[in-house]
């Protein structure tokens, strides 16, 4: 496990070096229509020669801008709604309103299905083209809340409905709403995570909306992270509409999907670990899958690599290949970019050529994993240790915010300071835990909300 006390040191070392900035090869407009922009580079584009060292690689992919909203790709959405007893009252009313509002935003080319679950799952609206919105809205209106929470069954049935109309050029998404602990069927974070990991292989992401203070945030966050969906902590039922809007904003602005990123390294370079987003790491390569890219929104993966001693001069350390489904042209596109670094003996040059953006991202992801450690400590009842760790995290973020001149890091630092104070109150821990899980998910997945 990487200890937080070591990591800043490495970053400092890395940032102390300097060389010319490296810009990854990127394409935005081409004869073949709009293209995703690939942006690959090192936190230190200039490295010291003659010594082995560690540095960070960032591979960012940015969705092109959707010219007109009407150009958006058709979507295939399964709304999986919790109708267990705990949803009764305002929650179910708000959930119905939010779901109906979301349905209204869809058009006739879209496909929707509605699955409800309480003690058992029920396919309320089988997957259908949105030619008859009124009947779907009416079906949602008829929902009542009672019984237990068969979450796994709900997701399984939702996925089955999605598959009926699954096509490469449709945005496939399960939107799962739950306000309680899954108590029928598989109910652990690992089990739901495994399901999420399976679903993303066929291009299905699960966005999980946790409502209130009683849902299992570990399970909901893991399902979202493993399937590359979004996750939200919806504290109050009134906010449901807002989060449905945000989620549909994402789904309806998708420009590319099934973005497969492959990073191959040259001899003498070894990927050590991934920060943030989940990446499969082999001896000399790394692989990651991003399910959807939204209009003008960047998602990235971040790797820590070990670079062997090199002689001065520019050297190609690897190559990034990205294949994705272009939802505008409905074609599979491939982007390739080299990963090159210049080695020099001049420490001043290394220090003056730090890529602040990549460094910031690395700091952010390190802080995120530290946050997770603090959460675990707090779970074990080690309140003071958790608080101390969050304070260290605050200091770490603030120091780097100044160094890298990054206001975002400052904000993140401030949030760590706040959390450090707020986790002390045991009665507030349920709320804080959900807040932290959501915070972590947003950083690792680079969610828009």
């Amino acid at each position: 496990m990487y200890r937080i006390s070591h990591t800043p040191g490495i970053l400092m070392t890395v940032m102390g070096l300097a060389l010319i900035p490296f810009t990854g090869e990127g394409t935005n407009a081409s004869p073949n229509g709009p293209q995703v922009r690939l942006d690959a580079g090192f936190s230190n584009p200039v490295l010291t020669s003659g010594t082995s060292q560690k540095t960070f690689v960032k591979v960012g992919v940015t969705g092109f801008e959707l010219a007109r909203a009407s150009d958006r790709a058709p979507v295939n959405i399964a709304l999986v709604l919790d109708t267990s007893g705990s949803m009764s009252g305002e929650k179910i009313t708000r959930a119905k309103e939010a779901a109906q509002m979301a349905i209204e935003r869809l058009s006739v080319n879209d496909i929707v299905s509605v699955v409800t679950y309480n003690s058992t799952a029920e396919v309320l609206v089988p997957a259908t083209r949105l030619t008859d919105k009124a009947s779907i809205v009416a079906a949602i209106e008829s929902l009542q809340a009672e019984g237990s929470t068969a979450l796994f069954a709900g997701v399984s049935k939702g996925a089955a409905e999605l598959r009926k109309f699954k096509k490469d050029d449709r945005v496939n998404r399960i939107v799962l709403l739950s306000d309680g602990q899954a108590n029928i069927g598989p109910n652990t974070a690992n089990e739901l995570g495994a399901l999420g990991q399976s679903l993303i292989k066929e291009g299905i992401s699960v966005t999980t909306l946790g409502l209130g203070l009683d849902y299992n945030e570990d399970l909901m966050a893991k399902l979202a992270i493993k399937s590359d969906g979004n996750h939200a902590f919806v504290e109050k039922a009134q906010e449901l509409a807002k989060f449905f809007k945000l989620e549909f904003g994402d789904v309806l602005s998708a420009v590319a999907q099934e973005v497969a990123i492959k990073v191959e390294f040259a001899d003498g370079v070894r990927p050590l670990r991934a920060l943030g987003r989940e990446v499969e790491i082999f001896e000399k390569s790394a692989f990651a899958l991003i399910n959807q890219l939204y209009s003008s929104h960047e998602k990235y993966l971040l790797l820590e690599v070990d670079v062997d001693s090199q002689v001065p001069g520019t050297k190609k350390l690897g190559q990034v290949t990205v294949t994705y489904m272009n939802l505008q042209t409905q074609k599979t596109d491939t982007l390739v970019s080299d990963l090159s670094v210049r080695f020099t003996e001049s420490t001043e040059e290394v220090a003056s050529n730090v890529d602040n953006e990549v460094s910031s991202l690395a700091v952010k992801q390190i802080a995120t994993s530290t946050n997770d450690e603090a959460l675990k400590l707090r779970d074990d009842g080690k309140v003071e240790e958790a608080q101390k760790l969050l304070e260290e995290n605050y200091n770490y973020l603030m120091l780097n915010a100044t160094k890298l001149n990054d206001k975002d890091l400052e904000k993140l630092g401030q949030s760590q300071a706040d959390q450090s104070v707020q986790i002390e109150d045991a009665t507030n821990w349920g709320y804080m835990r959900k807040t932290m899980r959501k915070w972590q998910q947003k950083q690792t997945q680079d969610s828009r909300y």
Binding site: S119, T120, A121, E122, V123, L124, G147, S148, A150, F152, A153, V155, S156, K157, A159, A160, R163, I184, G185, P186, E191, L192, A194, L195, Q197, S198, L199, K201, E202, A260, E280, I281, F282, E283, F287, L289
Partner: protein, 568 residues
Amino acid sequence: MRRGPVLALLLLIMLPLALLGGLGIRLARDEERVLELTLRHQIEGRLGDLADRISRRTASTRANLIDALLEIDHDPESMRRFVRREPRVRQVFLLDSAGTPLYPAPAAPLSVSEREFLDRAQPMWKGPVEKSSTRRALHGPPLDSGMKDPMGPQSQGSSDRAPQGQSTVGWIVWTRDSRIHILVLEALEGGGFIGAEIENMRMLADIIADLPDTATARSYSVSPYLLSLKTAATVPSDASERFALTDSTGRILYQFGTFDPREPRNPLVARSLDYPLDSWRLRYDVPDSAPGARNLNRVHLPLLLGLASVGLGLMALGGFVFREYRRDAIEAAQRVTFVNQVSHELKTPLTNIRMYTELLTERIGENLLEVDPKARHHLDVIADESQRLSRLITNVLTFSRRHRDENSHRSQSGIIDETIESTIEIFRPSMQKRGIEPRFEGTCRNPLPYDPDALSQILGNLLGNVEKYATGTREVRIRSRVVEDQVIVDVEDDGPGIALHQREAVFEPFKRLSERLEDGAAGTGIGLTIARDLARRHGGDLVMIAGDSTAHFQLTLNIATTRTEAQS
């Protein structure tokens, strides 16, 4: 009103009712049993259908995966690409013909998930792996011996778990920490094997997708079918039931149906799945109240109605019989009253006749003999017959009172022998006419408290019987004596006697031992009954003493009791 007839009537009504009820309930039980078996059969059919769906899913998953695995190149890069794109697998592996992993190769640099797979599947590579490279060896449970030892008791090698008749070919299943691990495996043409680890959660999700949900389950339900068996008219909308899929620990993986029990319960019907998911089970539950209870009600209602109508009929019949019986009883009572009244009315004129006969006898005296010697005889006959009639009436009145005022007798102090003698004297003339000589040996000359009327009546009845029945008797011997608190009077004649077996019967009312007309005897048949009654009321008894050819009656009267009562 006496209770006997009422009880008898009630019994008459309740007995058939109980019988019918018992039979009806048995019938209902039988029907319920038949229904239960039908239900069970239906449910087993449904569960079998569900199990088949699941088997088809596992079989097709294996077939698809194996096809795809044989299709791809067997280099790490291709296999990794396969894992990335195949939602149903966690990991792919390639073994040489000895069962040693070529990919993921333990010595090669591996990703985290590949390394974890090697750890998970450790029992597969460790230990004495079966070296046979034939297809057969691996198509049985391959690597079985290697898997068992390191796993300990939790190991569930595929061979010993798989029931007969189910295909275990190409699967490897083991359980560790109550988590089931499933691999598919296929032998390669050139030797070695390729296989994949199934993603359990995905397998489950696919199975769930194949199974009905609560909405589509309505057409799948057993309950409406069952209910339609009984009556097409009423299919209650709350026919609630639940089908569930559970894992080896009994945890519910998936359920459908409207029944949602909160507490753990025993399933109505359960079965296990086919290999490789044979540690999972399918179960069917219904609420305790249904549908068995509902059916029972339906069976019982007509039964209860039938029983009620039979009961009503029997009660009407009973009422009718009861009324008839009461009318008869009232009529009989009226008849008895009538006889009593008549007897009473007869008593006064008879007394007058007797009195005037005596007066006339006295008055005419010896003169009459001179006028007409036969006149005296006629007067004697009138006196005798009126006395006999008087005794008869007394008997009738006593008999009619026998149930009314028991223990009632009037004791007064007197000399017993005097009463006996005066009674004998009354009978002496008529007896002598028949050639019977009464002989009395009395030893009771002291005054004692007793009821002289009762004694006189008893003795009169006994002597009357002698007179009537003891044809050919020469003499009748009467003896009296006091033994302790009792007076004992024996009356013995040397007439034909009474057969042994009839000796108690003579005391029953209206009993006459011979109906032969030539006996020339007449009587009401209540004489001995009354005599015994009177004796018993007097704290004594009247019995027949066994004798060969004599009729020997022995009367005992309790004086002590009488004395006590007299004093009080």
